[in-house]
């Protein structure tokens, strides 16, 4: 399903040309990026990074990719790709809506953060990755896991805390791991996953260059705008650029960190600019448009696969719901919400597919119905799954389960029958 790119795929015909594309235009003079704080309007134009040739390490700019759709003659995606993208975004949206329902019915608990509105970023990036590429996410990780290939059943069971969940019910919403799909987890702590992603990227580079294995895996690290004020982010930008790691830093800038506006907490709100400061290209893209995200992602992923190093991509996006299901979402301006609701990525893609005759309404409806059934089935599966046995509490603290020590009665503590009988009851 995921399109795999080979390292030698020439984007525009010329392989010896180090620059990815035709000469880069000068960046337009920076108008006020995000407007003034009074009206949080955001111009949706894309930005460029002007490559300075005099740099020691050739920082290659990323082209201005997607022009207005009306201008191009050729379409950006084929029908199959379009349907794949559509299905993935619908899956993300339905799944999250179902999560909200289940939460309010008491089936799942804890802190749940939903991804509604940001599907274009997840689909745009992750659908370009292979199974062996790694993804590192934040606490808003359900849809990243789904896009990466983790089954809806496994994610739903994990949310319900059942033993059939992807982490056997240990972590819940914010900790979606999958060895099979190389989903290196959701992280509850902001910025905590970025160094982990950097290490994972180093592994692929090491495998390729030192161990001479055939390894083109890239790592994609997703995080939010609030994280961009955190030390760990900068430390990793530096390391990634220094070691030229195959990693893509994707900022899902949805303008709000719980109740803190990005504009009021960041000295320079244009996050993409922080890439060049560390020696990597920085790109800003409209994160509500999956096709634009996909084009930028293609570039960034190809760059990484070719060994040219990291990229920082800032996706301007928006979350339609509150920060978490416990957040009443009173702080955001209704006008701002309405503005972004009008740019819903799913409706935009639907419109594109239908207008360009790539798919009919009927086909799209079939997909939606199929996904609805899938999600329903996932809920039934999760409901029917058993809860973890109590003994699971002591497992996996150390590598050796017996490493837990000996209890006072001389037996391994994790085998104490008094403790391990019965099942967990929440």
């Amino acid at each position: 399903m995921a399109t795999s790119f080979s390292a030698t795929l020439p984007l525009h015909g010329s392989q010896e040309n180090r620059l990815l594309l035709p000469p880069i235009r000068l960046a337009p003079p920076p108008s006020s990026f995000l407007g003034f704080t009074r009206s949080l309007t955001i111009p949706s134009s894309r930005r460029l990074y002007h490559a300075h040739a005099a740099r020691r390490s050739p920082v290659v700019g990323v082209q201005e990719v997607v022009k207005e759709k009306k201008v191009t003659n050729s379409l950006l995606i084929t029908k199959e790709e379009g349907l794949v993208l559509y299905e993935d975004m619908i899956l993300g949206r339905s799944f999250e809506d179902m999560c909200a329902q289940m939460y309010y019915r008491g089936k799942m608990f804890g802190f749940v953060h939903l991804y509604n509105g940001q599907e274009a970023v997840s689909t745009g990036f992750i659908k370009l990755l292979t199974q062996s590429d790694s993804v590192v996410s934040t606490y808003r990780d359900h849809v990243h896991a789904l896009s990466k290939g983790v089954s809806a059943r496994a994610v739903m069971s994990e949310l319900f805390g059942k033993v059939t969940g992807c982490c056997r019910g240990q972590g819940g919403s914010m900790h979606m791991f999958s060895k099979e799909h190389n989903m290196l987890g959701g992280f509850a702590f902001i910025g905590e996953g970025i160094p982990v992603a950097t290490g994972a990227a180093f592994t692929s580079k090491y495998k390729r260059e030192v161990l001479k294995q055939d390894c083109e895996d890239v790592t994609v690290a997703f995080f939010g705008d609030g994280t961009c004020n955190n030390g760990q982010f900068y430390e990793c930008l530096n390391m990634a650029a220094l070691y030229k790691l195959p990693i893509i830093f994707v900022v899902e800038n949805n303008l709000w960190a719980i109740g803190m506006s990005h504009l009021r907490s960041t000295s320079d709100p244009e996050i993409w600019k922080k890439g060049p400061a560390f020696g990597m290209p920085g790109v800003h893209v409209d994160g509500m448009d999956v096709l634009k995200v996909r084009e930028v992602a293609k570039e960034a992923v190809t760059r990484a696969r070719r060994g040219e190093g990291p990229t920082l991509v800032e996706c301007e996006t928006y979350r339609f719901r509150g920060h978490s299901l416990a957040d009443p979402d009173e702080l955001r301006d209704a006008a701002e919400k309405a503005k972004y609701a009008a740019r819903d990525p799913i409706t935009a893609l639907k419109k594109y597919l239908v207008e360009n005759k790539l798919a009919s309404e009927g086909e799209l409806k079939t997909i939606e119905k199929k996904i609805d059934e899938l999600v329903e089935e996932a809920v039934e599966f999760a409901d029917a799954s058993p809860q973890p046995g109590r003994s699971q509490l002591l497992e996996n603290v150390f590598a050796d389960p017996k490493g837990f020590g000996i209890g006072p009665d001389g037996r391994y503590r994790c085998e104490d029958p008094k403790f391990t009988q019965g099942t967990a009851q929440v």
């Binding site: 702590f189 030390g231 109590r390």
Partner: protein, 371 residues
């Protein structure tokens, strides 16, 4: 088992307030107006008073502007202005370091860390800078004006990163104070004392009690002295020591034990560092038995320090080994929270508690073995 409803009750009677206990705090009774408040409102009041009485005090942290995720800072920004109550970016290390700098220049900085689980990036600043500032500058500078507030402890659905109790890490650092209130009235007094104390204080608030605990809190400005433990409930058979939300659980256990004829003395430590050794010592010398309970994992928890000190001081008066009933040595679980918590844990590592008795109330296990 059913009696141990401490964790799941709706409105709780806060320990100490309804048992005619000896109150050693300095609250005025009777003549001052009191109001029924929950924990976050009491803390809010304390912050209002602190900012009112000192024009050079500041409250900052993540999301404090709109009131904070637990509503502890509501109304502060409106009343005192954005210059004194402001949001910071998401950088705990920066926030605390920034607070240390403010405090070093003679201001009072009340820093909010959104959850105690997030305090670890700031741990370096707290341990290496805040704790040592006065010491290494030869008393030229100090950051006594720094108070770090963080909600800690289990909340029922917090999981790994919203439920931790990191008090033990901070109790190992000479130079800072660690304070944990058990109820709204205590919280207001202790917070005001902490803010005005000339030493940096880490103030952990039991998040589970933010809404659940309701108590009559005096409306005026009052302080509860630090480093003074309080005997909430008198008894003669066994001393129980705890802090924070765990006391409500222990209170329930005391009531149950009383039905079995065991008279328990319950002590709220309030300040963990430096802790009131004399009160606990006097109590153990009277009863001869000690049981310590906390939510944090048992190995290396603060209970170990109390146990070691009491053993040193009261060895000849002890009639049974000091018992610790604490969380398990695992990361704080999500689904298994009821098993992890020291309420229902049957496999405590303390030898005196693993009893083959059929009695399911584990604290009674402990009592029956100790007596």
């Amino acid at each position: 088992m059913a009696s141990l409803l401490g964790r799941f009750c709706r409105k709780l009677v806060v320990p100490g307030s309804a048992h005619g206990s000896r109150m050693t705090s300095t609250t005025a009774c009777g003549s001052e107006t009191v109001k029924s408040l929950n924990l976050y409102s009491a803390i809010n009041q304390a912050l209002h008073i602190a900012l009112e009485t000192d024009p050079r005090s500041y409250v900052f942290g993540e999301d404090v502007g709109f009131g904070g995720v637990f509503r502890c800072t509501t109304g502060l920004a409106e009343r005192f202005g954005k210059n004194r109550v402001f949001n910071t970016p998401l950088c705990e290390q920066g926030i605390v370091g920034f607070g240390i700098g403010l405090a070093a220049m003679g201001n009072r900085a009340v820093v909010e860390i959104q959850f105690a689980d997030y305090i670890y990036p700031a741990f370096d600043q707290i341990v290496n800078e805040a704790a040592k500032f006065r010491y290494r500058s030869g008393n030229q500078f100090n950051c006594g004006g720094l108070t770090i507030r963080a909600p800690y402890g289990a909340v029922g659905h917090g999981g790994h990163y919203h439920s931790q109790s990191p008090e033990a890490f901070f109790c190992h650092v000479p130079g800072i104070k660690v304070v944990i209130p058990r109820s709204p009235r205590e919280a207001k007094g202790l917070l005001l004392s902490s803010i005005r104390d000339p030493n940096p204080v880490v103030f952990f608030e039991p998040k589970w009690l933010y809404r659940q605990a309701v108590e009559e809190v005096p409306e005026h400005d009052y302080m509860i002295p630090l480093s003074q433990a309080e005997v909430i409930r008198e008894g003669s058979d066994i001393t129980l020591v705890g802090w924070g939300a765990q006391l409500t659980v222990m209170e329930q256990a005391c009531l149950d034990a009383e039905k079995e004829g065991i008279s328990c003395e319950l002590i709220d430590l309030k300040t963990l560092l430096p802790w009131d050794k004399e009160t606990v010592e006097a109590s153990v010398k009277k009863t001869g038995r000690l049981l310590i309970s906390h939510e944090a994992p048992i190995t290396g928890g603060f209970g170990a320090e109390i146990s070691a000190t009491i053993l040193e001081r009261c060895f000849l008066k002890l009639e049974a080994p000091v018992s610790r009933v604490c969380g398990l040595d695992t990361p704080f679980p999500l689904v298994f929270e009821p098993f992890y918590m020291p309420t229902k844990n049957k496999a405590s590592s303390s030898s005196s508690l693993s009893s083959p008795s059929k009695n399911t109330h584990f604290l009674i296990h402990g009592f029956s073995r100790l007596l």
